[in-house]
Amino acid sequence: MDLMKDFKTEFMTNEALQNLISSWIPELEFTEEGSQFLNISVKPEQLHQLLAQLKSNTETSFDYLFCLTGMDWGKELGVIYHLESTAHRHIIVVKVQTEDRENPTFDSVCDIWRTAEFHEREVFDFFGIKFNNHPNLKRLFLTDEWEGFPLRKDYVDEINMVIK
């Protein structure tokens, strides 16, 4: 495990990460409850700024977006970003949510991580969450004629395709 030795010096603990990131944007909420990673809740209007800084800052250097999950918490819709630094190997989770179920919209992060292009299309397909500045936002798996967004909790599965 010689590889790991080099990372130890620059690896940031959750506490160090929290101290650094909260100095950028004061209104962020941090929690480690119920998760093995440090979680940050961010307001939609600060999302892009935060994520761009998480990647570009040399101390955090979160250059690997390894998972982008659409989420329906019942009342709110949102997106969960799992980020890892390939240089320092620390991991962080960023969450954003909105109560607007009619027209949920967040800023796209395609310009920060190119993998987001496909992942955001998947979220749009299943949750109906729109992403500003996405180059090609359209359904990815389902047909264009499909009505509704099947992974939303209030989706009515009329022909019992999934839920028996």
């Binding site: 119920g34 250059d63 390894f66 799992h82 292009e117 395709m161 999934v162 839920i163």
Partner: protein
């Protein structure tokens, strides 16, 4: 000089063709919309969903034991490792202490799965670029692994050998003997792969400099597995987030810096050697003990979020489970390696020829149910 057809100013025109969803080189129902100018590719747009089964939605109605069995229908060539990913997530959430015997057996079978997947890939990749013999060599060796699986698990492909808490049952008495026989056999056969294909000049011309992916782009596109490592991006989950018995073995991470199709090819060949080395370190030292720990018949995870990464034959598989404390998960997300690896296909194929696209796709080693889920 008179204007003839030969020296008139032809205008080239872009047009689009469908590649798939039934194209043999896509190895499954993947449709690619190619915008081409002559034979030069201008754009590749994948059209997905032909084999989408909404596994994530089905997980929300299923128990944790049932979810395990859905996952080997994603990347069916890494079925054991997919099962293991869900089991590890559930076990970590329940804070179960898993016996060492289970960990070692899981790792051995996981590496056998990787070899089986790579031999199949090697066979069909050769076929994609016109070397039909490889197909038979690859399947001949993979057959021996499938026989080992069949004897122990009763299944050859979708094995369902893992359960939350351990393994379905103990290994077959022949398992150790036959695994050793396979390793001894494959050590003589893997060099044949090189003799037959790797050194072939025609093959190398099809592969070298084709579908080049830089390290920065590999990270940005979320590439993982041999696709990332062919670009010099050290991303082996087994190294950085070791699970099961992988922290007890030593192995080298296969890395190449060229980033072209040939580099990805070489990474997979080297990985087969490394997997054999891992198996050899463990096969004589399988600890005695139970193969299961007791779990409740109805598993309820505590409230919270759980994430587990594993390294399948294709790269990093992530399992995200959000639990509200009931017997069903509230939300499950599978971060599949093929999905991210496919997203970079347009990037590496533009500017190349259609034949190069086939070579690039072959070395991305896509499994379509893994992408569609």
């Amino acid at each position: 000089m008179d204007t003839t057809i030969a020296n008139s100013n032809f205008k080239s025109e872009e047009y689009f063709i469908n590649m798939g969803p039934q194209h043999p080189a896509t190895h499954g129902v993947l449709r690619l919309l190619l915008t081409i100018d002559g034979e030069i590719i201008k754009k590749v747009e994948p059209d997905l969903g032909y084999i989408h089964r909404s596994i994530e939605k089905m997980c929300e109605r299923d128990s944790y034991q049932q979810i395990v069995h859905l996952t080997d229908r994603m990347d069916y060539l890494s079925s054991h490792i997919n099962n293991e990913a869900v089991c590890l997530t559930v076990e970590n959430a329940l804070q179960l202490e898993i016996p060492d015997r289970v960990k070692v057996i899981r790792t051995i079978i996981g590496e056998l799965t990787r070899i089986a997947s790579h031999t199949l890939w090697w066979g069909v990749m050769g076929m994609d670029v016109g070397a039909l013999t490889t197909y038979f060599y690859g399947f001949r060796d993979r057959e021996m692994i499938n026989d080992i699986f069949e004897e122990t698990c009763g299944a050859r492909l979708t094995m369902n050998y893992n359960i939350p808490g351990g393994l379905m049952f103990d290994i077959h008495p022949n398992f150790v003997k036959r695994t050793k026989e396979f390793i001894a056999h494959f050590k003589t056969k893997l060099p044949e792969y090189d003799t037959l294909l790797t050194g072939n000049v025609i093959f190398q011309k099809r592969m070298k400099g084709v579908g080049v992916l830089t390290k920065e782009d590999a990270i940005s596109f979320g590439a993982s597995g041999p696709v990332g490592r062919g670009s010099g991006y050290s991303c082996d989950v087994r190294k950085y987030h070791p699970y099961s018995a992988l922290d007890k073995v030593t192995f080298n991470e296969a890395l190449k810096t060229e980033g072209d199709s040939f580099a990805r090819y070489q990474v997979r060949i080297q990985e087969m050697w490394e997997s054999m080395s891992i198996i050899e370190q463990l096969i004589d030292n399988i600890p005695e003990g139970d193969v299961q720990v007791a779990t409740n018949a109805v598993i309820k995870l505590p409230k919270g979020e759980f994430y587990q990464k594993v390294e399948t034959a294709r790269g990093e598989l992530g399992v995200y489970i959000n639990s509200t404390g009931t017997k069903n998960p509230y939300r499950v997300k599978f971060r599949s390696p093929g999905f991210s690896n496919l997203s970079l296909l347009n990037h590496i194929a533009v500017g190349g020829k259609i034949g190069d696209l086939v070579a690039s796709m072959a070395t991305l080693d896509l499994v379509i149910p893994d992408i569609d889920r």
